[in-house]
Amino acid sequence: MTMSRLRLFLGRGALCSVFLGLFLVPQLVEAQPNGAELFANNCASCHKIHQDLVGPALKGVEERRDQAWLLKWIRNSQAVIASGDPYAVKLYEKWNKSAMTAFDWSDEEILAVLAYIKEEGAKAPVAAAASGGAGDGTGSGDQNSSGFTTLTLWVVLFASGLILLLLGLLQRQYRLLYDERVATGRLPQGELKQFGLQIRLKPLHVVGGGLTLVLVSGVGWGVDMASNIGIQQGYQPTQPIAFSHELHAGTHEIACTYCHTGAERGKSATIPAVNVCMNCHNQIKKESPEIKKILTAYETNTPIEWVRIHNLPDFGYFNHYQHYKVAGIQCQTCHGPIEKMPEVYQHSQLTMGWCINCHRETKVNLENGYYQQVHGNSEAFKQAVADKGLTIANLGGLDCAKCHY
């Protein structure tokens, strides 16, 4: 009897404590400031545990300074510096006088952050991932693409011609030998086919063949040259700085218009001024020789002379705003996979036929202010347009004066 009562008592007690726990524990947890979260939201932008960033690495900070000092410092570092604390002043000087933000935190919150720093500091540093940015754009200037030059090709061609000539001569010698053997009766006639020889080269053949070769290749070369005049497709000049669009627009996903701001509002997409480069490169990769060119340009106030790749003739008018902003055409439609180009080249032909083709095929973008406000963009209007398949050509996109005026 007593045993069962005891069991009941214990059971109820356990149940109660579980319930109590359920109520109490979350409250306790809530009351406990989360060091990791505080660190991530407030400290991580300037401090890392194992590495220096804007401020010093925080590993072992409690060994360097005692808690009371750290509490004062975190709450108001400027006051500590102003009080003339030698360590604080030295620290301030060492870190380029960048003032640390004052955090109006309770003791518990600061201690939680310090505990988090201690805990993380004890762990091995994670290998610095993606610290420098993958692949530097340097040196990709003049290799592979132009290594196999025209000269190389001609040398190969000349060599193969020479080999052909030698083979011809060899064959001729062999032929003479063969004829002689047949004539002297050492070989029976009619076994010619066994040697697979059908051709009997005569000097006239060689000369005639050579002339044909020169003529055909000459005409071919001429036609090719003539049809390529004015087309600069594939043009990939060497730029003054080995800037990689692959790295900036691809890897780091910087929008095209961050630098080419003009595409949003004008005819030219514009080449960014040096100060736009400096927005990031006042900090990033300052030691690279290519970046140093930017710094020099910035300091001496001289523009960088980039080589223009897309040279549209002056008699053809083109406007970036009209295409990019109004029609909503992606940059890549004309410029190709820019985000995959370490060195930019002209992707499209930029011929009139190429323009016209697109104007014939492209449907009008109805999602802009003109159609929404001027035409009201009613469902009936949209439907009518969809039925007819309104293209740029229908709007006069093929008229001469659209581009030539």
């Binding site: 004015g230 000049p237 929008a255």
Partner: protein, 208 residues
């Protein structure tokens, strides 16, 4: 085989070789990518009036030889994006020093209606272009560039939600601490649109 056939055969080889050469030579032409190639009538291709972005010869009038020229100091854009209800001059000849961010926060007022969803959407787009590389799409400071640049604050940071709109506008224009100003890239009106979106990200309510 008779003589005629042989000759045909012979010519065949050479024609083949010729065509091969043609292909080769055309390849060789394309290979040379460092030069723009020929033009039929360059005087028609190149603009007679000076164009800032297309220049083939040295400019004899400008001292530095470039067609491109910087506007005179203090130039105000013709489309004049002034707002009468705020301090007009502030928008163009921004006279507030880089370090006077608190002053800017006190005197600048956002001229745009913070309830206008179209403006907010434009602000979001502009934020994505100009700010997100460092500040991250969510404003957590963890954009792809921000991670390398370092020192980019989180908008959820305890201080930031309380800062006035003028503060954000000033920082976009002039920069603050490690951040450099983007005043040359973003027009004043667009900056205020970005402010609207940043206010949403950091949970700031414009006092009415």
């Amino acid at each position: 085989m008779n003589e005629l056939n042989m000759r045909h055969n012979n010519l065949f080889y050479f024609f083949g070789l010729g065509i091969g050469l043609w292909v080769f030579s055309s390849c060789a032409l394309i290979e040379d990518k460092k030069e723009p190639g020929w033009e039929y009538a360059p005087q028609m291709y190149v603009s007679t009036p000076y164009e800032p972005y297309s220049q083939v010869s040295k400019n004899t009038i400008n001292a530095d030889g470039k067609n491109m020229r910087a506007p005179a100091p203090g130039t105000i854009a013709r489309n004049g994006q002034g707002y009468d209800n705020t301090v007009l001059e502030l928008m163009h000849n921004y006279p507030i020093g880089r370090d006077s961010v608190d002053y800017a926060g006190r005197i600048l007022r956002n001229p745009l209606d913070s309830r206008d969803t179209t403006l907010l959407a434009e602000g979001k787009y502009l934020y994505g272009v100009y700010c997100a590389p460092c500040h991250g799409a969510e404003g957590n400071g963890q954009g792809k560039v921000g991670q390398i640049y370092a020192g980019v604050p989180n908008y959820k940071d305890s201080r930031i939600p309380g800062l006035p709109s003028g503060h954000i506008y000033h920082v976009i224009t002039m920069g603050k601490n490690r951040m450099w100003g983007l005043g040359s890239q973003i027009r004043p009106e667009d900056r205020w649109k970005i402010v609207l979106y940043v206010n949403q990200l950091r949970g700031y309510q414009e006092p009415s």
